[in-house]
Symmetry: C2
Subunit: 368 residues, 2 copies
Amino acid sequence: MTERMQVDYLLTCEADEDADAKARGIALEQTVELPDDCVPDAIRERLVGRVERLDPLPDRRFHCTISFDSALFGGELTQLLNTLFGNISLKDGILLTDIRWPDSVLDTFGGPAHGMDGIRRMTGVPRNQGLLCTALKPVGLSAHALAERAYAFARGGMDIIKDDHGVANQVDAPFAERLAACQEAVTRANAETGGNSLYFPNVTAPWPVLEERLQAAKDAGCQGVLISPWLTGLDAMRWARDHFGLALMAHPALTGSHFRAEHGISPELLLGDLFRLAGADASIYPNTGGRFGFGLATCEAINHRLRYTLGGLPAAAPVPGGGMDAARARGWLDQYGTDTILLIGGSLYQQGDLTAATETLRTAIGRG
Amino acid sequence: MTERMQVDYLLTCEADEDADAKARGIALEQTVELPDDCVPDAIRERLVGRVERLDPLPDRRFHCTISFDSALFGGELTQLLNTLFGNISLKDGILLTDIRWPDSVLDTFGGPAHGMDGIRRMTGVPRNQGLLCTALKPVGLSAHALAERAYAFARGGMDIIKDDHGVANQVDAPFAERLAACQEAVTRANAETGGNSLYFPNVTAPWPVLEERLQAAKDAGCQGVLISPWLTGLDAMRWARDHFGLALMAHPALTGSHFRAEHGISPELLLGDLFRLAGADASIYPNTGGRFGFGLATCEAINHRLRYTLGGLPAAAPVPGGGMDAARARGWLDQYGTDTILLIGGSLYQQGDLTAATETLRTAIGRG
């Protein structure tokens, strides 16, 4: 049995643009890609998108709901994305804002294998406390130098130490060498402190190499990895979930062109629902007040989408980052709740002593 | 030896935004992702992006050139995309407009295996004549019904008959069944007419399935396929090029959010340079005057980027489509030149008799 998925688009019409025609155009474009008079009746009834609702808003904007038969996706995440926003990405004034997911679609794609609870178990951080994450950088350091930084963070009790998402396989610190050095450094620090820091290497890579890096991370004893699904293709994350058992922290690189006011995919849907559906246990986003432009409401919406009841999918962890000030960490946990992983990099590096900076940060959030 | 790649961004500044700071911010964000005071001197010198040029334009816009050491990419297309626009996609007022590619980068990623000339050889269309392409649709038809349409187009002398990009693996026409039926139908029509039509199945799919479909297409005797690189991940196309020898026709699904006036990646760079670099032998784009919003200048720019001298990369074929009127085909070849593949679907379906419609179209472009 197939079910219909209800998809909301916020339409912004030009002065000479008819909203009805625009909505019907989306319904055709995203399914049969033919003029209406060329569509066989049986296919129109079953597979052409249905305009379920078209309500006017101020400023020539319209709240539009179109339903799609889930048979259109054929069980494939590539085709799900294509149906939601493939060709209409090339048009103007169409913002994908919400999806009511049929259970069958949720079951097909599956969601996080570990989620927030799983990451808590891996790190041993109890339920009423927030988590901390940092990034190993900059690109250009040797594997040894990055491992020294990993060691210093782990000595201070950092929960998750991930590669910077721009640290890939450059000659300065090739993946295999970096993986071995950083994982060894974190393991050694844990042995010394009795702590439980985790190293998440960046596995983002062209296809067959991605597979090799996931396997290498698993073999090295890592419990999770960093991946940028918009660089690898979203389905690569789902595939990784199904084959390695590693926790997956998703990075939003290259997603941001969608986050425009009048056209694209809303951040909470892309970094929330879609990343979660495709298996992200944790989803990084640029926190408000940092180097990027999200407002507080958008950040709260992403948090919600990663945690809300969505069929049987585990809740994923929001990971606000991107210019977060260590001095404000406590406030962000108060704001967002403790089921949050705070990603803080530059603000710790600026303090010089990474172990001391991490200890101070832990104390600030009541983990001292 | 590494070389520096020169990358142009068109910056649009807010009233309170400093262009120098914005440019330097990009140079840091896309490389070390650290505040300047945390960057070791040797790394700053070598790997931080260099602002080579920042020229004011009207309306608080600035022409900015930043150079990046090609060592940053580590030979990986995922990391190339990340360096060009990964994190800054999440900012505002940054439009990637041009790249001067070092030869070493072109050599690393390689470009089309066949290009326009290769597709001419496959189809047997001589140099002074344009090519024709159509799409099998709509989704919902059986494999048999789609094959009947393929047969009718091939009987009329259509050069390339591709799956619609929304026809994937739905139950109505599963990939394997459709591949067999359509390839058989086109082969049979060719045998009857002495023609040389090609069937390009849509192989866009989640990773391991993509590989199976490419192999199946090759085994069935297809000479090319359709792929949507923004759904699969761009590198999947490069990988396909290296392993199957099939011609690759790229579809722009999901790319369009980048094509905004003030922020994103320019269409000619994405559908031109980047798709060509990653192995597209032909690149579909929405022609002006159809269902989408590109202007003529953008279309001409894409054509140019697919054909211009770019190291030793073969020229790729522009494939304007998306609501093209068969009656205007001749005019488009006059406009764009005969090294063009005209993609015409709906306009032929509206005529009812697909063979006759194709014959009329051929006659109109001097292929009668």
